[in-house]
Amino acid sequence: MAISGLDIYKLLPKTNCKECGFPTCLAFAMKLAAKQADLSACPYVSEESKSKLSAASAPPIRLVTIAADGHKIEAGNETVLFRHEKTFYHPTGLLVRIQDSLPAEQVAATAKAVADYKVDYVGISLHLDGLAVEATSGDASKFAAAVAAARQAGSLPLVLISEDPLVMAAGLAKTTGATPLICAATAANWEAMAKLAKEHKAPLVVRADTISGLAELTEKLVAAGVEDLVLDPVARGFNGSLAVLTQVRRLALKKGVRAVGYPTVAFPYLGQSDPCMETILAAQQIAKYAGFVVLSRFGPAEIYPLLVLRQNIFTDPQKPIQVEPGIYPINKPGVDSPVLITTNFSITYFAVANEVESSGQPAWLLVADAEGMSVLTAWAAGKFDADRIAKTVKNTGIADKVSHRKVLIPGHVAVLMGELEEELPGWEIKVGPREAVDLPRYLKTNW
C-alpha cells in the first residue's frame, strides 16, 4: 500500500538537519512518498524506522526478473488498473513455447527464429522476449537436452515448464549463467520446487485454480524463503482469464493483499486451441494484466500485431510517442513529387502518412519538431509557427531532392502563409485541407 508523506515523517528523526539535501524532514518525507528520494540519504534514521518503511514502501505487486545473456524480462511493480490513471510500467513479456518432444534441430531452429525476430515500428525495434521449454515428453534427459539446445541457440530468458521436480531439476542443470522462471509449483509439489528455486536463485510460478489457493501457496513459499513468485491462476478461457487477472490485480493494488501481490503468467493456447483465437486471447491478456504471455508457436503474422499492441498499451499516456523530425518519403517520390509538412505528434504523422500512402500518390512528408503536439495545439503553443516550418524546410535539405519549390502546409495554419513567404523566399506556400482525410483528393486536383 502507498504510504503518505505524513506517515513517513513520523518515522524520521524530525531534526531538520538538512544532511539529506532537503530543508526539512517533512520535505524529505514528501519526496520519499513521491519516490523522488531514497531513505539512505538520511544518516540518522533508526533501524526500526528503516524496517517499517521498507516494508511499507514495498511495491504492491512484486517486481520479478528473469534473465539470460544480457536479455531480461521484468514483470510486476504495476500501480494502476487502467493505463489512463498513470501508466503501465513493465510491458508483458512475450515468449514462445518449445516442446521437448520435438526433434533437436527443430528446437534449435525455433529458438533461433524467436531470438532473431525483430520488427521496426515507428523507429522502435520490437522483439520477442524469451522461450518457454515444456516437458511434454515427461522424460528428464529429453527435457535437459531441449533446455540446453534452447539456451544455446536462443540466448533469451527461459521459462521451464514441468510439474515434476525431477524433470525440472534436470532442465535447471542446463541453465547455468541464466535466471529462468520455474513453472510450476502446485499444492502437490511445492516443497520440492521451493528447494529448486532456492538452489538456482530462480523465480517460481505458483499454480492453483482459486485465488485463495494461490494465496495459501505463496504464503507457504515465502515462509520457506522463496520470494520471487509469479501467479498462474489456471482460468484459461476468455472470461475466466479476464475475471481472475482483474481480481488479482485489484486485490494487490486496492486491498493490499500481499499474498497475491505478484505478476501473473498466461498460456493463451490452453484456453484456445485454434491459433487464430489464441492470438486474440493473447491480445486480451496483454491489455488485461498478464506479466508474461506464453504463445504456442512462432508465427510472424501473429507476433507482429501482438508486439505493436503491447507497445501501444504500455505507452505512457502522458508522453505520447513522437516520430523523429525529418523527411519521410512515401510511395517512392521523385523530383516532381509534392512536399507536405506536418508535426511530429505520432497520431498526426500517422494520419497524414496513412492517407498519402493509401492514395498511392508519391510525396515527400516533412515532419517538424513540434514537441509532439498535433497541428492545432502546436500552432496555439507557438511550436508550429512560420519560424519552425521554415527551419524544417531548410534544415531537412528537401530542396536538394525536388526540382520545384512548393510546400503544402496544413489548412489549420493557413494564417501563417504571409509570414512563411517572407521566411522562405523563392518558395510557393500552398494551403492544404484541414483534415488529413481530404489530402488524397487535394493532391489529385489542387497540387
Binding site: L242, Y304, E357
Partner: protein, 323 residues
C-alpha cells in the same frame, strides 16, 4: 492453514442505457427482429460484479459504391462478387453471421457518378429487402452530401429505427432533425475526447432526441496508429458511466474494420519486411487485434470488414460473456 481471500467487488451507481435498433412489422418497420445493446451495470464481461444483459453486436460494413479500387486484395477476395451489389452483399453479410448491417453511403455510385438522394433511397430500400437485420446508415463524410443523402434515406425508411450517422459537432442538426421526424436513431461522433463526447450528446439531446436514441462513437484508431488513445477514452467513458455521469451512459460503436484496413500493414502485399508475415493472415490479424481490446474497453457495436474477423470476434464475445 487454509487462506480465504475475499473477491473485491466494485459497487457501481450508474449503468449504460439500453438502446434498441430496428423495428419489426408490429413496431412499424420491416425487420425480422430488433437488436438491443447497452444495459451494462459493471465493467465489460465482469459477471462477478454486475450484469451485461446484451452481448456486444457485430455490424458488417456494406458499401453502396464498388470498393474494388480502394480495398486491398485479401478483403475483396473474401467477399467475391457481392461487393458489386449492396443487396447481395448485405445478404452475404447476414449469412456470415452479422448482427447488424452498416450501410456506408459512398460519394459516388457503382458507375462512378455522384450519389444522389434518389439513388440512396433506392439502395437503402434494396438492402432492407435483402436482409432482416437492423440497419445503420452512414453518410460519405462530406457535410452537405451527408445531409442530402441521410435526409432522403430517413424519409424513405420511416419507422425502421435506423441508426443514422455520423453526427459531428460541425454537422448534426439536419441529421438529428431527420431522425426526429422519421423515428430513427443517430450516432454521435467525437474525436477521442471524453468532454467532447459528452458535449455533443448534450447538444443532440437538446434538440429533442431522447438519449435512448443516441449511440456514441468515440472514434477508433487502428492498431499501431493511435488505437490506445481511443481505447483509454473508451475506458474513461465507461468508468464515468458506471459512476453515474448521465451524459456518458450511451452504448459505444467502434470502427476497427475501416481503420485497420487503411493501414499499410493491411494493404501492402509486397515490398514489406519478412517479419510482417503473410499478407492475408497479417491483414486479418490487424483487424482483429485492433478490435479485441476495444471489445474489452466497452464497445457495444463493433463494425468489421473481413468475414474471418467477424467469425473470430463473434467467437471471442461469445466466450467472454458471463455464464
Amino acid at each position: 492453514m487454509p487462506v480465504n481471500v475475499e473477491i473485491p467487488v466494485e459497487k457501481w451507481s450508474g449503468s449504460v442505457r439500453p438502446i434498441t435498433l430496428g423495428a419489426t412489422a408490429a413496431e412499424g418497420g420491416t425487420r425480422s427482429h430488433t437488436v438491443t445493446i447497452g444495459g451494462e451495470t459493471a465493467l465489460p464481461f465482469l459477471g462477478f460484479e454486475g450484469k451485461m444483459p446484451h452481448r456486444p453486436q457485430i455490424a458488417v460494413e456494406v458499401r453502396t459504391g464498388n470498393p474494388s479500387e480502394e480495398w486491398p486484395e485479401p478483403l475483396l477476395r473474401a467477399w467475391g462478387a457481392v461487393v458489386g451489389d449492396p443487396a447481395a452483399w448485405a445478404h452475404a453479410a447476414e449469412a456470415a453471421s452479422a448482427d447488424l448491417i452498416l450501410l456506408q453511403l459512398t460519394a459516388t455510385d457503382h458507375a462512378g457518378l455522384r450519389m444522389t438522394a434518389a439513388a440512396a433511397r433506392k439502395v437503402a430500400r434494396s438492402v432492407l429487402g435483402a436482409t432482416g437485420l437492423p440497419l445503420i446508415v452512414v453518410g460519405p463524410g462530406q457535410a452537405e452530401l451527408d445531409n442530402e443523402l441521410l435526409v432522403a434515406v430517413a424519409e424513405e425508411c420511416v419507422g425502421e429505427r435506423l441508426v443514422l450517422g455520423p453526427c459531428e459537432d460541425k454537422n448534426y442538426r439536419t441529421i438529428v432533425a431527420a431522425a426526429l421526424a422519421h423515428g430513427h436513431l443517430v450516432t454521435s461522433k467525437t474525436p477521442m475526447d471524453v468532454n467532447l463526447a459528452k458535449q455533443l450528446i448534450i447538444l443532440i439531446r437538446d434538440m429533442g432526441l431522447p438519449l435512448e436514441r443516441i449511440v456514441m462513437d468515440p472514434t477508433t484508431g487502428a492498431l499501431g496508429y493511435g488505437m490506445e488513445y481511443g481505447y483509454s477514452v473508451m475506458e474513461r467513458l465507461r468508468l464515468a458511466a458506471l459512476q453515474g455521469d448521465g451524459m456518458t451512459q450511451q452504448p459505444m460503436i467502434v470502427t476497427p474494420g475501416e481503420e485497420a484496413w487503411r493501414t499499410k500493414e493491411a494493404r501492402a502485399g509486397e515490398g514489406v519486411p519478412a517479419a510482417w508475415g503473410s499478407w492475408d493472415d497479417r491483414a486479418v490479424n490487424w483487424e482483429v487485434v485492433t478490435a479485441a481490446p476495444l471489445v474489452e474497453a466497452g464497445a457495444d457495436v463493433i463494425v468489421l470488414r473481413h468475414p474471418a474477423a467477424i467469425e473470430r470476434i463473434k467467437k471471442m464475445i461469445a466466450e467472454l460473456m458471463p455464464a
